[in-house]
């Protein structure tokens, strides 16, 4: 649904989306990287398992929640992609284990 403009810098950061390798540009938020990688829904809601996706990209809507390096419910639009980052889409309520 989204593409990168040609004059932007090349994608040098390697990370993972649900275990699959993806690439991002330095400075991308996780939300931008997910959208650029073709992810449409980043989670299903805790109340009714409805698919949800980033909506505001400015940190106020809390729709872009994903699991990052094992920590759930992180706002993808507020975090930068880092090399080797493991991003996972979420299903329903956050899972916490000891």
């Amino acid at each position: 649904m989204f593409r990168r403009l040609p004059d932007a810098a090349p994608c040098a950061i390697g990370f993972f989306i649900d275990g699959k390798p993806a690439s991002a540009r330095a400075g991308d938020t996780v939300a931008a990287a997910l959208l650029a990688a073709g992810i449409t829904a980043c989670r299903t809601s805790a109340v009714s398992a409805a698919p949800r996706a980033p909506y505001c990209t400015m940190g106020v809507c809390f729709e872009c929640l994903v699991t990052i390096d094992g920590v759930g419910n992180r706002q993808a639009c507020m975090l930068r992609v880092a090399d080797g980052m493991r991003v996972e889409t979420q299903r329903g309520r956050r899972v916490v284990s000891s």
Binding site: L5, D7, A32, A50, P51, Y55, G59
Partner: protein, 475 residues
């Protein structure tokens, strides 16, 4: 833990938000010799309007336009001062005695200031339509941020829907970026011009007129525009597949779509001011709640000033002048300047503010969002976090639920992580509509810290007084 970042125990002035108002306020305060800290949750300065101004990957300056690049002056000016600017610092609490809770590098820290200036800006007005929670529906501002900050743009034809200058600006920027716009569905009410007519003369003389006309010309060229849209719906199963709408109450029209961008103006981001206990009042012209402040931004909570779009929408240029006024006032209260100096220096900022605000009264009235898009139909989800519909809210009013705080207890609307940022106005207006009174009588959610989530670990690690420990431990 981020013990590495030095945070003083006490500052003269804490400014919250590094958008135009915050940047200008912090800069002026520092220039007056005030020990100032500037907190902003984003990793770089600029707020939303000048988002990514120091890091944007876009090299063609014409794409975003001169109004955007103007913001570099504000950042450069800040950088020349000794303001301690802490990026990535989320302010989650400010107490009445100005103890400030921030979260920085995953650790919660406390600090204090003698004066605080809130410059937390605005957010897009909620635009509740059926299907607005579907993947494929975003705000126009979100699309603009993705373009500015990451250089990404839609590769499918986009439907833009709503009302207001930003809608046209994003349309223009998208066209410059080579994106395809399937249609612009303009929800500006049919009577808009008539009701805004009395304010037309200053608008015609303002910068907004010329810029607006030029944007319209740029966009209208090849883009299908439907005006007088009175109903809107996003259709789809798991993602958006079509947008359905009516023009002037006519028959339903539908078009396939994968991306719908919604926008119907911006409203003050009131959460922090509300949680501090600042009084807010309903503004019938801007159709939102605004904090009650004096001409310098001072609220009735001693030491707390609110400035920029967070105090009421006046746009980026207005915001920076308001920020300077708030800084002057803080300087007075801190004993740096006397009243005469404050008033004298303030005069030129006030004049600049007046010039920046010229024409806004027209814009406010002309782009007043239609009621149908503020008080939505029955099946529309109002609270996205808790998935509460308009009908459920109306039913609760019928049960005797009088206001948003009772409504919160009844239906959980407003209890999600967004803390009402996307539902608060809709809930207040819905209850007002159901009860046949003004939202002024209904009020708004009563908020408390943390205004942004922090982890329990962060909360647990804060310093505690012996008294606090005793009230819990004795159980």
């Amino acid at each position: 833990m981020s013990g590495a970042i030095p945070l003083k125990e006490l500052y003269d002035l804490a400014v919250i938000g590094a958008g135009p108002a915050g940047l200008a306020a912090a800069t002026l305060a520092a220039e007056l010799g005030i020990d100032t800290v500037l907190f902003d949750e984003q990793p770089e300065p600029g707020g939303q309007i000048y988002r990514a101004i120091t890091t944007t990957p876009l090299t063609d300056r014409a794409m975003l336009g001169a109004d955007y690049w103007y913001g570099t002056h504000l950042v450069d000016a800040l950088r020349r001062t000794s303001v301690q600017y802490l990026a990535g610092a989320t302010v989650w609490s400010i107490s009445r005695d100005l103890e400030i809770g921030i979260s920085l590098g995953g650790a919660a820290r406390l600090t204090r200031a003698r004066r605080v200036i809130l410059a937390t800006g605005a957010l897009e007005r909620p635009f509740p339509i059926e299907g607005w929670t579907l993947p494929g529906v975003m705000t126009a501002g979100a699309a603009q941020t993705l373009l500015k900050a990451s250089g990404i743009v839609a590769e499918v034809p986009v439907v833009l829907a709503g009302s207001g200058p930003l809608l046209w600006l994003v349309a223009a920027q998208y066209l410059r970026a080579g994106a395809a716009i399937a249609a612009i569905l303009d929800t500006t009410p049919a009577h808009a011009l008539t009701s805004a007519l009395p304010r037309l003369p200053p608008f015609l003389l303002s910068r907004y007129f010329g810029k607006g006309m030029s944007l319209l010309r740029e966009v209208r060229g090849g883009v299908k525009v439907a005006r007088g849209v009175t109903a809107l719906r996003a259709d789809g199963g798991d993602t958006l597949s079509a947008v359905t709408y009516r023009v002037s109450g006519g028959p339903e029209l539908s078009m396939p779509a994968k991306l719908l961008l919604l926008h119907q103006g911006v409203v003050p981001n009131v959460n922090l001011a509300n949680a501090i206990g600042c009084e807010h009042r309903w503004d019938e012209r801007q159709l939102c709640f605004r904090p009650v402040v004096d001409a310098w931004g001072q609220s009735q909570v001693e030491g707390v000033a609110i400035t920029g779009d967070g105090a009421g929408i006046s746009g980026a240029l207005g915001a920076e002048h308001q920020g300077r006024l708030a800084a002057l006032d803080a300087a007075l209260h801190l004993g740096r300047i006397d009243r005469e100096r404050r008033d004298r220096d303030g005069t030129r900022h006030r004049h600049a503010l007046g010039r920046a605000e010229r024409g806004r009264a027209f814009l406010d009235r002309y782009f007043q969002p239609a009621k149908a898009f503020r008080v939505p139909s029955a099946q529309t989800i109002v609270c996205r976090c808790e998935e509460v519909t308009a009908q459920q809210i109306r039913d609760a009013v019928a049960l005797g639920c009088m206001g948003p705080n009772q409504m919160k207890s009844f239906l959980r609307c407003g209890m999600g992580p967004c803390q009402g940022r996307l539902c608060g106005l809709t809930v207040s207006e819905l209850i007002a509509d159901a009860r046949g009174v003004s939202p002024a009588e209904i009020g708004y959610y009563r908020l408390r810290p943390p205004v942004k989530p922090i982890t329990l670990a962060e909360l647990a690690a804060l310093p505690k007084s012996e008294a606090a420990i005793q009230t819990v431990a004795r159980r």
